[in-house]
């Protein structure tokens, strides 16, 4: 369960507070919403009471057509469920019987000026983002030719310096050192910088620099989906590094699989150009062209021909 301050929802979705009671926060587990028409009709099986309840024109009109006694009875039953809050759309007049029950059961009652389908969509978008699993990882996130490249590796390996070289070559910085990663859907991660340090960078020997002030607005971007992970490590003579690129390695962040490329670092190796090449190669692969595979195919064809 996630707790969202009620003020955040109110501000984000531009809602009007009709009744808030002593609720400061909304406890919420799902980004779905429920329109309680069936519940008003008396059907409470599978009632999704953990969701935000949205009342549109249909529900309000239906309530008005009901016999006041039956209505009171159904609404009492409805309000006894522990739902997070009730939102009425289209700036509709709040009937006295709803306001009273909100107060009686201490359920936040909010109102929106937009249409129900519009609000539902916005609400789900907002909640999905607010409830998304989050993690802060050490590394640098750069946009290279539109590819979200997350550079990882031990402190002092040269991640920031590599990013600086990439920026100089016209690519864009998302976050240096601390990247907040959010899982927005099952297979999509979005990274951004914590607001305080956004577009700042630390370069050993120089100190803190402001990339936006130094290289301009074209050198930065606020957030970016992660596409590949480049892992920088000190060159280890005993380790075998990929020479072909026929097999792909993966790493997992928040349960999402990302292609991982281990790049050994040695003095004099131009890492920025290697990362540019990795990004280009990844794009080629996505478009269905695998250079290593292509060469292997040619080789196999030639061997076959020579045999015949």
């Amino acid at each position: 369960m996630t707790t969202i301050p009620i003020d955040n929802i109110i501000n984000e979705l531009d809602l009007e507070v009709i009744y808030c009671g002593d609720n400061q926060n909304i406890d919420i587990v799902t980004s779905d919403v429920n329109r309680p028409g069936l519940q008003f009709a008396g059907f409470f099986d599978y009632f999704a009471s953990e969701r935000i309840q949205v009342l549109g024109k249909v529900e309000m009109t239906y309530l008005e057509t009901m016999d006041p006694e039956v209505r009171q009875q159904q609404l009492e039953k409805f309000f006894q469920y522990d739902f997070p809050c009730l939102v009425i759309t289209r700036n509709m007049e709040i009937p006295e019987y709803i306001l009273e029950l909100s107060k009686k059961y201490n359920r936040p009652l909010l109102r929106s000026s937009i249409s129900t389908s519009n609000l539902t969509q916005k609400l789900i978008n907002y909640l999905s983002s607010a409830l998304a699993p989050k993690i802060t990882r050490h590394g640098v996130l750069v946009d290279v030719y539109g590819v979200g490249v997350f550079i990882m590796g031990e402190s002092g390996i040269g991640k920031s310096e590599t990013a600086l070289e990439l920026i100089k070559r016209g690519h864009r910085l998302v976050a240096d050192d601390a990247v907040e990663i959010k899982k927005v859907t099952d297979n999509r991660l979005i990274g951004e910088a914590p607001e305080l340090i956004r577009h700042f960078m630390e370069i050993r020997g120089i100190g803190i620099i402001d990339i936006r002030a130094m290289y301009g607005v074209g050198a930065v971007i606020n957030n970016k989906p992660l596409d590949i992970v480049i892992y920088l490590e000190f060159w280890d003579d005993n380790k075998e590094y990929d020479r072909l690129g026929l097999t792909e390695e993966y790493t997992e962040i928040l349960g999402v699989k990302l292609p991982k490329i281990v790049v050994p670092v040695r003095p004099g190796r131009n890492l920025a150009i290697i990362i540019e090449v990795a990004a280009r190669n990844w794009r080629l692969k996505r478009m269905g062209y695998n250079a290593a595979q292509e060469l292997d195919n040619r080789l196999n064809a030639l061997i076959q021909m020579n045999r015949e």
């Binding site: 802060t136 050490h138 402190s155 050192d177 305080l196 340090i197 700042f200 960078m201 630390e202 803190i208």
Partner: protein, 98 residues
Amino acid sequence: MLSKNFKIMHEDGLSARPAALFVQVASKFNSRIWVEVNSKKVNAKSIMGIISLSIGQDDEITVTAEGNDQEEAIEALTKLIDSNFSCIPNREQNGKHC
């Protein structure tokens, strides 16, 4: 793996200078070291990471070290925090000069 909780007494909290000292001390060790505040965890050897936590006075932090010199790392960081960022322990001296 070794963990320890601290309360930051420095009146500026971990503003740029104390944060830089913290990172400077942490970077002297081979162990991987993290700082955690309110379930946000960053690399203790990264100045931008520490700054991004915006740790204020009286905030509680958890420092975790993992590696062959984890005890020494925690000890040195304890000295630094306990001295209110006035004593900078050296790896070799292990803070004996203060």
